[in-house]
Amino acid sequence: MSTSIGKRELDETGRKLLERAMRGREEFEDLVIVPIFAVIVALILGALVMLATGVDLETIGRSFVALAKGSFGSINAVSETLTSAIPLVLAGLGLGLGFRAGLFNIGAEGQILMGGLAAAIFAFSFPGLPSFLLIPLALIAGALVGAIYAGIAGVLKAATGAHEVITTIMLNLSSYLILIYMLKRPYVQVAGRSDPVSKSVPPAGELPRLLDWLDPNLRLHAGLFLMLAAVAFVWWVLFRSKIGFAFRASGANPDAARYAGMKSGLIIVAAMASAGALAGLAGAAQVQGVLWRATPGFSAGIGFDAIALALLGRSHPVGILFAGILFGGLEAGGRQMQVDAGVSIDLIGIIQALIIVFIAAPLLVRALFPWGFARAPKGGK
């Protein structure tokens, strides 16, 4: 028999071990300085691309001013940035959680579609419910259906070893067709239309707009709180809860997780379902907050952008939040670039991609800006 675990008196040496090491400068550089430089390099390269396509310097300057103005330069810009960020962050949180558990879930797009569809159907099926019931219940319906849809891939992996990359890609393709099929059912399809469009979410099911008292065109809706709550919740799950500990252990070292008695099958299904619930919530928030109905293309690639977002945020909830705001800003600012400078929206896509490339390659950024960092890249002088 040995000593038992639990509360222990600590002597001086023991207490010293509890001191948290200062956040290393290197970590700070990776999390803060690298992204900032990555954005700068991406913008410069974006300018070069514009130059190469024959855009003159003045227009380039004007377009970057527009980018800044359109992303954070006014109430309207901030509202648009956050509105775009909401579904991105929600779906990104799900993917990040999956990555932490070692699951490379490509299926957020499909889970968003299924979740959004479920929320729309639920909302128009119970138009009589009061807001305080209809809004949360419809959101839950979306999360639940997203969880079930992602759970399929989880069960397939746990039971047969089918790789989640393959199954989720296939489930994405299926989801497009399921959506169109469902939208054409008489129960779902709005009366008087022959194209696939769902009935509208009743006003009681809409996520209330937060700033319409200022200006009716401000689209920011209560999904903002949902997003912030989800960030906190996922952080708690990953870093405070028992199940999150098991997720992270399985992701970092599956053999050690097995050794520790964690049930890998259960963890795979639980992690996939949680990821799906968050993606489903993203779809529901989009339907209840912005679109008010489901149509064939309503996911608009958010599920794929969210993959980049989760990687950019290093699968950390707070990182994902900031990455989401960055992406939302690029989207809103990109629109302003088009309006003010007539620059193609495709250029924004290029800049977005460049930012991801540079953040994903911190050593490259360190090599480009040696004076920005305390230490030269490893292996140097």
Binding site: L57, E58, R193, S194, P216, A300, G301, I345
Partner: protein
């Protein structure tokens, strides 16, 4: 650093000029096909450019990349433009919402008619079934296999109107000539037919035309914006003896210059004409909410010249087309059912 400093200078210079006030501004939000789709969006934009050239107004546009962009794109223009033109049936709801929230902003929407009408929105709609009817009659007369084909982008009235007219036009030809030309891809009674589900994929355009060709069709009318460019590419490869294309919206002989020889004709939907008309009404103060309808009579719809096939179309057939056009205008021929 020199580049950076120059760049900074340019940015500073520009920051001042952005806010400079300008003349009358007309703005356009495109649908997902893009401003250069050689059809639908491009034709509407041409209407705006025409006024720009003639009256020196400002013109701006925003391209929608997905349905989720409609509302924010429209919002970006509110208060910045004298009139906002939204291009496409699918933008109906977003335009309505924005118009009701901003009663002082003038709107116009291509391909959507509100019932009841909204005071600050002009709907622009087109009797494309009339143009489609002429194209159907012509195609039935030109087909060697006795099989025609059509397909659409998605199953919405602005698309299926073309297809309705096409089928009915071919039916009239059968009635008059005792032939049995069939049209694949659309059933006007059940409202079911072939649809790509998008307005973007050139691959789909190719694949759908290939399917119709495999079923015997030698003339195909794609009603799906730039998707039809894929069908034209197939016709170019197969040769126009095997497959001819009927363009829609714009005169595609003029817009798709690389493959122009494959177009038997195009069903014109003169969005440029109605867009010009709406902008001018906004400029001279006569703007009033309601409806503008393009017809054969007011040249809002029509049939493009035969161009490459000018010599191939028999003179009798040309005469019949003219006669039917006159019949539709005076009401002696109905294009429906």
């Amino acid at each position: 650093m020199t580049f950076l400093s120059k760049f900074g200078l340019a940015a500073a210079l520009v920051a001042g000029s952005v806010t400079a006030a300008s003349a009358f501004t007309a703005c356009q939000v495109t649908d997902v096909g893009g401003i250069d789709d050689a059809g639908f969006n491009q034709t509407a934009w041409k209407g705006l450019e025409d006024v720009k050239t003639s009256d020196g107004i400002e013109g701006r546009f925003l391209e929608s990349q997905a349905e989720t962009d409609y509302a924010p794109n429209i919002n970006s223009f509110i208060g910045q433009c004298d009139v906002i033109i939204t291009v496409g049936f699918l933008m109906g709801d977003a335009t309505k919402a924005a118009a009701e929230a901003n009663p002082d902003q003038k709107f116009s929407i291509v391909d959507f008619a509100y019932d009841p009408t909204i005071p600050n929105v002009v709907g622009q709609v087109y009797a494309t079934n009339q143009g489609g009817f002429l194209a159907g009659y012509l195609a039935a007369g030109m087909s060697k296999t006795g099989v025609l084909g059509t397909f659409g982008g998605i199953n919405i009235p602005p698309v299926t109107d073309f297809m309705d007219g096409f089928v009915h036009g071919a039916n009239l030809y059968n009635e008059r000539h005792g032939t049995e030309v069939t049209v694949l891809g659309w059933n006007p009674e059940s409202k079911e037919g072939l649809f790509t589900g998008n307005f973007e994929s050139l691959d789909d355009g190719r694949a759908f035309a290939q399917n119709l060709y495999d079923e015997g069709a030698d003339i195909v009318m794609p009603v799906a914006g730039p998707v039809g460019l894929g069908s034209a590419a197939l016709a170019d490869e197969l040769g126009t003896d095997a497959l001819k294309i009927i363009g829609v919206d714009a005169d595609q002989y003029m817009t798709d210059t690389e493959k122009q020889h494959v177009y038997l004709t195009s069903v014109l939907k003169r969005m440029d004409a109605t867009v010009t008309q709406v902008i001018k009404s906004a400029m001279d103060g006569s703007f009033a909410g309601g409806l503008v309808v393009g017809t054969l009579e007011n040249d809002g719809v029509g049939l493009a010249p035969y161009h490459a096939f000018e010599d191939a179309v028999p003179a009798e057939l040309k005469a019949e087309i003219e006669e039917i056009k006159a019949g539709i205008i005076d009401g002696s021929i109905t294009v429906g059912g």
